[in-house]
């Protein structure tokens, strides 16, 4: 039993390593090419550094840094293409007077980190690229040597890696092939991940910078949250004051008028009482609207999916609703998502002239900062050209989403289609 499962594990390892190897080889070959590029740029930088002593180098510093930034940018994209996860880039802008630019270059840590990466990659990238190609080829060659060694002339025999000049010499070649193959399977994927890690470590902004940016973002989103909260409170106060409160005053007033009418002539009081009843009814209606605007009761009763289904059904334009992997998210996020969809569909119905709308809601994991986000996407096939002018509701959506540290993206070229996407972090 143990033997067979051990066997299975080995097979599994070989299969996994084979697929890693197939992915890694082209990556490392490209890495070898960029490694030579890096060496050339490194030499250029050394020259610039030498010229600093005679002064001209200072003039060359900003353009050299721009070149370095561009080059590391291509490397970031190579790593991103390989791993599927982006390598964030954050540079202080190179602008202003020459002395200011020089100061930025000299003082900023990213310059040093980029140069460090350039050196490491320039010195190791080509070695790894050569091994990535050489080890598998060596294995194949050693395996094939028994088939062709005799074709070659005696004075220039095949090396596998020992010179093979007789059938006896071919005896160890299967073993040699196996060693090459094992080395390739074990090392090449490691090279790829090592090269990736190295780029990620040195080319991503230092932790400190990332944290500082994050603090700035969070400060802004907290301010937006406070602002959104404040304007919500004002809106609710206004709605209550102008709506329900006034209607109840009207009830009291109509009843007062009715009371006086009843004292004079009882029959004349009835229509006034009925008016008071109507006013009480509209007070209830206003209260219902305010309650709905604070937290739609349907969210409590049916959850987000049920609430969105109701919205889609109520939309005057045919609307399809797709929801994938939806789970319960915090109430505030659900309510924001509900309002985004409600507002977006209102816009679609009012302005787009669309024949069809689609609402798509999914939960996905975002990498930076790592957490689940609820993604709400509303698309329509209307005439496009939507903007965030005040009063279109789009500005309101953006504010509401920003309050959650979320992102809103609107794409609406003239002629359509229009797509609104909002990302709402779920806080976990």
């Amino acid at each position: 039993m143990t033997d067979r499962s051990g066997h299975g594990r080995l097979r599994q390892w070989v299969r996994r390593s084979m697929s890693d190897l197939r992915r890694s080889v082209p990556y490392l070959v490209r890495g070898a090419v960029t490694s030579f590029g890096s060496l050339i740029i490194l030499i250029g930088l050394v020259v610039v550094a030498a010229l600093l002593l005679v002064g001209v180098g200072w003039l060359l510093l900003p353009p050299a840094t721009r070149l370095l930034r561009w080059w590391t940018g291509t490397e970031r994209r190579r790593v991103e293409a390989f791993t599927g996860a982006s390598v964030p880039e954050a540079y202080p802008p190179l602008a202003g007077s020459l002395s200011h630019q020089i100061r930025t270059v000299v003082l900023d840590r990213t310059t040093r980190r980029d140069t460090a990466w350039l050196t490491v990659h320039g010195l190791t990238g080509h070695v790894m690229g050569v091994l990535a190609v050489g080890l598998p080829l060596g294995a194949v060659n050693a395996a094939l040597v028994p088939a062709y060694w005799w074709i070659l002339p005696e004075h220039s025999p095949v090396n596998a890696p020992h010179a093979v000049t007789s059938w006896a010499d071919t005896l160890p070649t299967p073993l040699v092939a196996a060693v090459y193959a094992l080395l390739a399977l074990a090392l090449v994927p490691r090279f790829a991940s090592w090269q990736t890690r190295c780029a990620r470590t040195l080319l991503a902004p230092p932790r400190e910078t990332r944290l500082r940016e994050r603090v700035t973002e969070l400060t802004a989103s907290r301010a937006a949250a406070l602002e959104a909260h404040g304007s919500e409170l004002r809106r609710i106060e206004r709605d209550l004051h102008d709506g329900a409160q006034n209607r109840l005053v009207e009830v009291v007033m109509q009843l007062g008028i009715a009371e006086r009418a009843w004292q004079r002539e009882p029959a004349s009081a009835l229509p006034l009482i009925l008016r008071a009843q109507d006013a009480a009814g509209s007070a209830l209606g206003e209260l219902r609207d305010v309650v709905r605007s604070i937290y739609p009761p349907i969210l409590t009763e049916r959850g987000l999916d049920g609430a969105l289904a109701a919205l889609a059904a109520r939309c005057p334009i045919p609307c399809t609703l797709r929801m994938d992997g939806l789970r319960r998210v915090p109430a505030a996020v659900e309510s924001a998502a509900y309002f985004v969809v409600a507002e977006a569909l209102t816009n679609v119905a009012k302005h787009s002239g669309a024949e069809h709308a689609e609402v798509r809601v999914t939960v996905r994991r975002r990498p930076e900062p790592e957490e689940d986000v609820l993604v709400v996407r509303v698309t329509d096939d209307g005439r496009g050209g939507a903007t965030e002018r005040a009063g279109t509701g789009l500005a309101g959506i953006r504010r509401r989403v920003a309050a959650f540290d979320g992102r809103t993206e609107l794409s609406s070229p003239d002629g359509g289609p229009t797509q609104l996407e909002a990302e709402l972090p779920c806080g976990s």
């Binding site: 006034n246 005053v249 009207e250 007062g256 008028i257």
Partner: protein
């Protein structure tokens, strides 16, 4: 009596016009904003004005400011201010000019028509009417060494009614006591609070309110 009213909610405005007309009070102008209200007051010189605190365009305290402006342009112009909630500092602004003829009531007081009409008449006659809510706001904020603490419960009742703008007779009726008893209570209150004795009118209310606000 001729009145001008300002109320932005159309149903409330119509209701108020109906209520006043039914009671034989002529509404000579009913506007939904402060500017029209001020123009009407200046042009028509009504016996009293009834105005909502919150009016367009900004829906903050335009109505209150319009009332103050109207009284600056026409000193002593009786104004009854209505509001969905009361704030004692607003009352102070209305009373600041020291002239009588000021009222400040919660909107829902119009439902008790007889009392509301009584208040409107008192304001039109130069009296002062404060909502009981304003007085209770003033009464709760008392310091520990306050002479108010030496008042008997009955004296406190009399003080509250006095602050709301009621005269001796009205207080006597509301508390079901004799007018002489009310006068005695009032004398005691003034002595205990260290206020100079004043006549029955608006100045007495002002003195009491000033003491409560101090």
């Amino acid at each position: 009596m001729r009145v001008v009213i300002a109320e932005d909610d159309v149903l409330l405005r119509e209701g108020l016009v109906l209520l006043l007309n039914n009671e034989g009070i002529e509404v000579v102008a009913a506007s939904d904003n402060a500017d029209d209200f001020l123009a009407a007051v200046e042009e028509l010189r009504p016996d009293a004005a009834v105005v909502d605190v919150r009016l367009p365009p900004s829906f903050s305290d335009e109505g209150l400011r319009a009332a103050v402006t109207a009284r600056r342009r026409l000193p002593g112009m009786p104004v009854l201010v209505l509001s969905a909630y009361v704030e004692d500092s607003y009352a102070a602004e209305l009373l600041a000019d020291g002239a009588g003829g000021v009222g400040y009531l919660l909107k829902e007081r119009v439902g008790k028509v007889a009392k509301f009409l009584d208040a409107l008449h008192r304001v039109a006659d130069g009296g002062t009417v404060m909502d009981p809510e304003v007085i209770s706001q003033l009464m709760v904020r008392r310091r520990a060494d306050d002479p108010m603490r030496t008042l008997t419960p009955r004296e406190r009742e009399v003080l509250e009614l006095m602050a709301e703008g009621h005269g001796n007779r009205s207080i006597a009726e509301l508390l079901v006591v004799s007018e002489t008893a009310v006068s005695k209570h009032i004398r005691n209150i003034f002595v205990k609070l260290g206020l100079p004795p004043t006549d029955n009118g608006h100045r007495r209310v002002l003195a009491v309110l000033a003491h409560l606000r101090s």
